[in-house]
Symmetry: C2
Subunit: 235 residues, 2 copies
DNA sequence: TGTACAAGAATTTTCGAAATTTTGCGAGAA
DNA sequence: TTCTCGCAAAATTTCGAAAATTCTTGTACA
């Protein structure tokens, strides 16, 4: 699922996925074929296939005969997603620590360094996370699990993190980052990981995941019912 | 993902998925559009969308410009799949036992009864599992996890079990069932579940899952490299 | 004998319009 | 005013063929 963009639908899949994860398309927003085929410049058939695949990834919802929309968010979904992430990522992290070699630990250190040396907020709009930081953050969380020899587990964790990305985008807007020292959290996790302390590492990772979720829930920014606003995407 | 077969591609998706899980389409078998559009009677666009969704479910593989084929099987994949199932299903089962109510326990008892009172082998070809038994077996494993209040976890377990179905089909052919008392295994699991003994239930479930896998691996029926035979499906 | 190249065949990918379904709006009746 | 019915508009779904790519086969050459 990496550079398999040799086909048009593959390109649209990646573009659409990126636009959703980056928040350029909002949760609950309708995705009409006319708009998308103009936006990406391909026929509806190509768009349809990309959307179908994203449905299977839980990033897009589809009601028969009523079209597609970006997956909507809700308090309940976030709670379930957070719980699943804490438990399955912890499980996978234990494997990673037990099975990872020196090259893997080295990659963890490198990813941490890059993350902590990347500007967190966008230089143009300081209320938004910078693209570089989001990418480095995503890479860090992927790397600490990459020691796990079971690709099935790491794949599941990747999918769960993608779903969580729909929510994390919003946490920056509500000033959540002011209440915590995110670099310190990542550093502590990386230290526990490289030290081989699985108990500590899984506890820290779970707290890290839960904290973002809790702050977002406390903020009341997410309604209890599904969000269905049809905000227009900005170019 | 239930009765959403209001569309043609939805019907093909369900048919194709059923044919793969039932072993009517073999692992590694190529899935050319010409053949499929004739088999199911729809245009290639519809077939393509159904195949795309199955790719995202890991039941079908796709190489750009080279078409689709049923997911191939290998010893390594089975080992990883089994490990993931044992750990994630155990985790979910603990939730199920902790969160399930009386109605859920009642459903577990009902599913066990139905499973143990359904003929295991096909009456026409005793070397094959009967369709009814496979369905009851699938339902039983789904129900014991259904007490879990987190749909994200149960969904993941469902996907993993679907992948495992690709392998389980074969275990009946190698006489695996002679070496074990499958009804007793299921009964023991159900008893532990209804008794609320999470430690025992998860241990029994993991053993149950691992046993099928181990017997299949010991049989040598699955080659170490990916199977790529192009066996023709039988009507 | 083996390798490289090229034309033809087979298959996948893509498109744009037709068919089907849903949605929106307004007239008419209660 | 409110509700229902029905037609028109908009959107989704489907089709079948054209375009693009890969695979196969056969031939020439070393």
């Amino acid at each position: 699922m990496t550079q398999l963009a040799k086909t048009r639908h593959g390109q649209v899949y990646l573009s659409l996925r990126a636009d959703i994860l980056a928040g350029r398309l909002h949760p609950g927003e309708k995705l009409p074929f006319a708009t998308l085929s103009e936006r990406y410049g391909f026929s509806v058939g190509v768009i349809r296939e990309a959307l179908s695949r994203l449905v299977e990834q839980s990033l897009v919802e589809n009601l028969p005969q009523q079209g597609f929309r970006v997956a909507s968010v809700s308090r309940e979904t976030l709670i379930h997603l957070t719980q699943a992430r804490c438990e399955i990522e912890s499980l996978t992290l234990r494997h990673s620590i037990a099975e990872g070699d020196v090259n893997w630990k080295s990659a963890v250190v490198a990813a941490l360094f890059k993350l902590n040396n990347t500007q967190q907020m966008d230089s143009e709009d300081p209320s938004l996370l910078s693209e570089d930081w989001v990418e480095a953050h995503s890479a860090f969380h992927a790397v600490i699990l990459a020691g796990c020899a079971n690709p099935r587990l790491t794949d599941i964790c990747g999918q769960l993190r993608d779903s969580a990305e729909l929510y994390r985008r919003w946490s920056a807007r509500i000033g959540e980052q002011a209440k915590r020292d995110i670099p310190a959290e990542h550093t502590a996790i990386a230290n526990a990981v490289t030290a081989g302390d699985a108990d500590l590492a899984t506890r820290l990772l779970s707290e890290h995941i839960s904290l973002t979720s809790d702050l977002l829930l406390e903020s009341g920014f997410i309604g209890s019912t599904d969000e269905r606003e049809n905000a227009q995407a900005t170019a």
